[in-house]
Amino acid sequence: MLQIKDIHATIGGSEILRGLSLDVAAGEVHAIMGPNGSGKSTLAQVVAGHSDYEVTAGSVTYRDIDLLDLEPEERAREGIFLGFQYPVEIPGVNNAVLLRSALNAKRKHQGLDEIDAFEFLKLAKEKMAMLGMDPKFLNRGVNEGFSGGEKKRNEILQMAMLEPSLAILDETDSGLDIDALRAVAEGVNALRSPDRAIVLVTHYQRLLDYVEPDHVHVLSEGRIVRSGDKTLALELEDKGYDWVREAANG
């Protein structure tokens, strides 16, 4: 589904990704781990198409499309979803309005009619119930005054509504209490299917207790330095990132 081949990416002139390759097939869940500053968010933003990042070499292919040719909104409509590490607040814009606009943009791209208000509300309330969110969040400004955990749940709500083919969740588990973590895990598991893929960027084994990954990768200094199955995450938890760094350099 997603093939990243030897990409190099810079921001503000400094190279952050330095020859990173990753292959994600439909039906798989990948976990990406690694120390702070190793380039995890950069990878997520590059796939989503943030214009601050410049890809200087390599290729990113998604379902046989050259992803780097597409605008961010086109990538989104093709089914790529990014759960942001720091979801931005958009005061004054109703959460429901944003959700509905996003849903309709995608439906339009697929040649479908706009969803009517009644259907939309029904769907949104259903998903919110699954995530343990109060429906009143629909009428608040997007992320406006939300707590950290509420913002993350809101990301998962958007994902659940948009039903992406490829979801990249950037530290969606950070700073969550156990209930919120379970809710997020539930949202992710509900999305799992043979024709979808999920990439979880995380620091902790915690989330992986609820969402079992097929592959685990360790990122360090802009490269994947180690890949393995779910036991790699446990090993990391045990030995820390220094162990990976030494292994990589040695």
Binding site: A48, G49, H50, S51, D52, E71, P72, E73, R75, A76, R77, F81, L82, F84, P87, V88, I90, P91, G92, V93, N94, V97, L98, S101, A102, A105, K106, H109, G141, Q158, L162
Partner: protein
């Protein structure tokens, strides 16, 4: 110079002798301003003597007044002798015969604004009889109003048909020497609207300039007077969302509202004068005096405006809260893009007891535009229990634009409650990226954010007007980002 002057006077007098009504209605006066020109304007409009006297008084006062300089705007000096003060309506021969002859860019904008097909022709200045006959619409409309006793007509018609009302109220809210442009307008005003709602009558429909029969050419010095007699209600919609082009660069209108006891006037404006091109060339200078007088107890005047046009805007719709318990409201969205400059705001003058006012001002600047909000809240010593709440928000799109806020408070009654809140925010690159990552185009994302920012004001507009206003904003901000 002297001979030219004489010639003009001769010309004017001769025309007067020959009966001007049909004959000279199609001609414009040459540029320049003096008493002869004012006499000519008045004569061409067949005005009664009192109107001419009134104009002349205003003119003499204007002569020793100075243009205001304190507005936060910059423009080259205006040569008032270089303006023609009576422009006759364009003859049908000069107008496009059909929409096929109209600038396709203009039509494209109409399309984006969702303006109905039959309206487009009229707005584009197509000779009306060549397209559709608006008379039937206007007639049913007029019948309904006259059944209710509401007078709604052009200002010229009011001067002729209802001189007693005009005499009583004209200049009673905006005196002739109120300011430089008001004085000029009083001397040379071309036309405009007149509304009178009798005691206890709730006007059965929204009054809109759309439906005004004589709307075709109100000219650059428009004059509007609305009087709501005791216990009456009227909602008036000014302007339209279509871009208005005009060869006259200077526009100086005066609007006066009078609300007697228990009466309410709601005045909504959606204004879209041509702002000039992307380099700022050729736009309209819009210097307007709008004021409402809550003359009776428990009266209410509410101004709502959405403005996107003009190269330069200078205007302060205001309320004089004279009657006890009277209420003044001002809701405004002003958009400035490219090189536009706007200096707007409001004045709330509390005189009566327990008067209250609300100000909600939303300013959006993009490109290199500069916008200033200037609000005055004055509470007079006798205004026991006066209250004001002001909310003044600015939204910046891009790095080169600016917003400036100048709140003035003159509180002479210690018991008054006056609150002022102000915020400035920016549409950030991260907000736009967030929306785009959800599949929403950049343009739609800007619209979402702008509409969210303005919703408190939009909800004050009559429904269809609100929809048009939203479309208008999105057209005005097209290309503002990126």
């Amino acid at each position: 110079m002297a001979t030219e002057q004489e010639n003009l006077e001769q010309l004017v007098n001769r025309r007067y002798e020959h009966g001007f009504v049909t004959d000279i209605a199609t001609e414009s006066l040459p540029p320049g301003l003096d008493e002869g020109v004012i006499r000519a304007i008045s004569a061409r409009k067949n005005e009664p003597e009192f109107m001419l006297e009134w104009r002349l008084r205003a003119y003499r006062q204007w002569l020793d007044m100075k243009e205001p300089e304190w507005a936060h705007v910059h423009y080259p000096p205006i040569d008032f002798q270089d303006i023609s003060y009576f422009a006759a309506p364009k003859s049908d021969e000069d107008r496009p015969k059909s929409l096929d002859e109209v600038d396709p860019k203009l039509l494209e904008t109409y399309d984006k604004l969702g303006i109905p097909l039959h309206e487009r022709a009229r707005l584009a200045g197509v000779a009306v009889d060549a397209v559709f006959d608006s008379v039937s619409v206007a007639t049913t409309f007029k019948e309904k109003l006259s059944e209710a006793g509401v007078i709604f007509c052009s200002f010229s018609e009011a001067v002729r048909e209802h001189p007693e009302l005009v005499r009583k109220y004209l200049g009673s809210v905006v005196p002739q020497r109120d300011n430089f442009y008001a004085a000029l307008n009083s001397a040379v005003f071309s036309d405009g609207s007149f509304v009178y709602v009798p005691k206890g009558v709730r006007c059965p429909m929204e009054l809109s300039t759309y439906f005004r029969i004589n709307a075709a050419n109100t000219g650059q010095f428009e004059r509007t007077l609305i009087v709501a007699d005791e216990g009456s209600y009227v909602s008036y919609l000014e302007g339209c969302t279509a871009p208005m082009r005009d060869e006259n660069q200077l526009h100086a209108a005066v609007v006066e509202l009078v609300a007697l006891g228990d009466a309410e006037i709601k005045y909504s404006t959606v204004q879209n004068w041509y702002p000039g091109d992307e380099e700022g060339k050729g736009g309209i200078y819009n210097f307007v005096t709008k004021r409402g007088d809550c003359r009776g107890a428990n009266s209410k005047i509410s101004w709502t405006q959405v403005e996107t046009g003009s190269a330069i805007t200078w205007k302060y719709p205001s309320c004089i809260l004279r009657g006890d318990n009277s209420v003044g409201e001002f809701y405004s969205v002003a958009v400035t893009n490219n090189y536009q400059q706007a200096d707007t705001g409001t004045k709330m003058i509390h005189i009566g007891k327990n008067t209250s006012s609300t100000i909600v001002s939303k300013g959006i600047s993009a490109g290199r535009a500069q916008q200033a909000y200037r609000g005055l809240v004055r509470v007079m010593p006798q205004a026991q229990g006066a209250r004001n709440h002001t909310q003044c928000d600015s939204l910046l799109i891009g790095k080169e634009c600016g917003a400036h806020t100048f709140p003035y408070m003159e509180i002479k009654n210690p018991g008054a409650k006056v609150e002022h809140e102000a915020t400035t925010s920016k549409i950030s690159a991260n907000q736009l990226f967030y929306c785009r990552q959800r599949g929403i185009s950049e343009e739609d994302a800007v619209n979402l954010i702008v509409n969210g920012f303005c919703k408190e004001v939009f909800k004050e507009l009559p429904m269809e007007f609100a929809v048009e206003a939203q479309a208008l904003l999105s057209v005005s901000l097209e290309g503002a980002v990126g």
